[in-house]
């Protein structure tokens, strides 16, 4: 059982890495590969590396994060990301101090606007980080959300 899980994980991971590296994959084709490692890692840098190939992000004013300053209920924190950066490929939402920081990643086609909105769970007060990948570069912005009651159970 363990061996099987391992094989599955490593196979999927390497195939995708090769294909993406070769620039063969359109967002549609990547679809089958949910980035398991990025979602399960406890380290934000690792998550970004897995998703975008780099943990280096350039801070920018051209990403705006709409989220409450104080979230009374950490189980439901509305987060909207808007960005005017040209050619956005992906937008990731990260809650810095969650056990597994990566909350969501959105792959956008050419005709999608630089906007996504959803609701996430936050374990405690921390920064919400939005990472936008465009033209092979990663940009980021952050906003602190104070959480009164954590929302990850446990």
């Amino acid at each position: 059982m363990q061996r099987r899980t391992f094989l599955k994980g490593s196979l999927a991971g390497s195939t995708v890495a090769v294909a993406v590296g070769a620039g063969l994959l359109t967002p549609g084709a990547v679809m089958a590969a949910w980035p398991k490692r990025a979602f399960e890692t406890e380290d934000m840098q690792t998550a970004m590396k897995d998703l975008f190939g780099t943990a280096q992000t350039e801070p920018t004013d051209d990403i705006s994060i709409k989220a409450p300053d104080i979230a009374e209920n950490g189980a439901v924190v509305p987060v909207s990301i808007t960005s005017g950066i040209a050619g956005i490929e992906e937008i990731a939402i990260i809650a810095e101090k969650n056990g597994t920081p990566l909350a969501a990643n959105f792959k956008l086609a050419d005709n999608a606007k630089g906007f996504v909105s959803t609701r996430i769970k936050m374990a405690k007060t921390s920064n919400v980080v939005a990472v936008v990948k465009a033209g092979g570069k990663a940009y980021s912005a952050r906003k602190e959300v104070k959480v009164t009651i954590g929302g990850c159970g446990g």
């Binding site: 967002p27 549609g28 990547v30 679809m31 949910w34 980035p35 979602f39 399960e40 189980a75 439901v76 924190v77 509305p78 909207s80 809650a95 969650n98 056990g99 597994t100 990566l102 909350a103 969501a104 990643n105 959105f106 792959k107 956008l108 086609a109 005709n111 999608a112 606007k113 906007f115 996504v116 909105s117 959803t118 609701r119 996430i120 769970k121 936050m122 929302g151 990850c152 159970g153 446990g154």
Partner: protein
Amino acid sequence: MAKSIRARATLKGDTVTVKSLITHVMETGLRKDEKTGDKIPAHYIQEVTCEHNGKEVVLAQWGPAVSKNPYLSYEFTGGKSGDDVSISWVDNKGEKDSLTVQVK
């Protein structure tokens, strides 16, 4: 079927705004059953595919940190009234659902 999804797509100017709500437990796997103390197994949506006339516009990849009964909104250009907008999700247990609505 599509009982789990509610969605609305509205056209304003050249932009279609899609708003959707999905009914799902989004269980993290960290919570414990209050009576038995057993961990409740993780059960959450991993991917939501959003299409416009059969062409993918947004692919959302989610972890368990997306809230219960997830809300998702996005915008795209190039749509017109009457176009199909479809949303389909699949979770970590392989359960899935989809819904197609028309742009208003």
